[in-house]
Symmetry: C2
Subunit: 177 residues, 2 copies
DNA sequence: CTCCCTAAGTTGCGATTCGCAACCCTTTTT
DNA sequence: AAAAAGGGTTGCGAATCGCAACTTAGGGAG
């Protein structure tokens, strides 16, 4: 990516996402929720997570609107934790992370494959796409200010070469030796 | 998703991904790397991270093959940390997380927008797609064993209703009250 | 050559957080 | 009435985080 974005500013959604999902067990709890677990004991047993941590994480996810906590009508000892719409919105991120983990794990042997349940065909690898559907790699991306959207980005010091990653340090800018 | 996958097993890439990227600053370091930072001091100053932690994280990312550490030829005090191919493979995951953070942050005001630098148009929201390109939501997904790929998935207790998330507890299964 | 500066860490130490086990309160089941 | 299940909370030792100070190696100016 050519233009460097300011990193400390809150113009980036990543810090917020990490505030919600960045703690140790959050993603695994989320995965469990996507797999249809609802109850405290289920999470506890399936994940082997300490109860106090689980309690803390669930409360955190509820507070951030990823899960919804509702006491169970039929059995008032139980509580249900369910994904909200915001929580469901994390599925692409989780899947991308997971696909990456699978791809780069030595000798990874998929026990189960995520498929389109209509035809049983595996889902596509998650990728970044342009408006016209082209898959984009890193060196085809750039940052643009909202008012200049639609204007091609001039990548300063665009000394990028093969396959979307820099072959050399991008020119003698002030940054690099 | 209908069929429940076994959660503790290593049949899932998520634990591996989190082992690499799950610590507190890893994703922000990665973002910085995608933004063209190479050197220890740059990361330190831009992110405001403690030096010992940064040192630890960089070493960890190098060890896991996300970054490559090379002493700088021209100035032998410096060291370059560069994304490997494995590291570049994290871009979709990071972007998905980031888009999620942006979408669900109150009053989020994008300072910069990630665009296709050829035409300056914003990239698409990251989504999960079937082989034919259809966008898939959670309730259209299922787990299938590798030998049965291509066979439609029968979702057990498929009481899912609106918009891809469960309207009620999916029937009186053994799981839910 | 000497002095000073930069880059990249390392070390010490107090403040948090994690993880385990035990305990607690409420609701259900027997 | 007693026992058990569900969902936590509390205490406490171990590991991790974050800050500041220190170290080591290389470069540059005079």
């Amino acid at each position: 990516m050519g233009i460097r974005e300011p990193l400390r500013e809150m113009s980036c959604g990543l810090p917020h996402a990490l505030e919600v999902m960045g703690e140790r067990w959050s993603f695994l709890i989320l995965r469990a929720a996507f797999n249809g677990l609802y109850h405290f004991e289920e999470f506890s047993q399936e994940l082997g997570i300490a109860r106090n941590i689980l309690s803390n994480r669930l409360a955190n996810l509820v507070q951030h609107g990823v899960l919804e906590r509702t006491p169970c009508e039929a059995d008032r000892r139980k509580v249900e934790y369910r994904l909200t719409e915001k929580g469901l919105g994390l599925l692409p991120a989780m899947l991308a992370l997971r696909q990456w983990g699978e791809r780069y794990t030595e000798d990874f042997n998929p026990g189960l494959v995520l498929v389109d349940c209509r035809d049983g065909q595996p889902v596509q690898p998650i990728s970044i796409r342009a408006q016209d559907g082209r898959e984009l790699s890193w060196h085809e991306l750039g940052w643009q200010t909202p008012d200049k959207i639609g204007q091609p980005v001039d990548r300063h010091a665009g000394a990028y070469a093969k396959d979307g990653f820099p072959a050399e340090p991008p020119e003698q800018s002030e940054e690099c030796c």
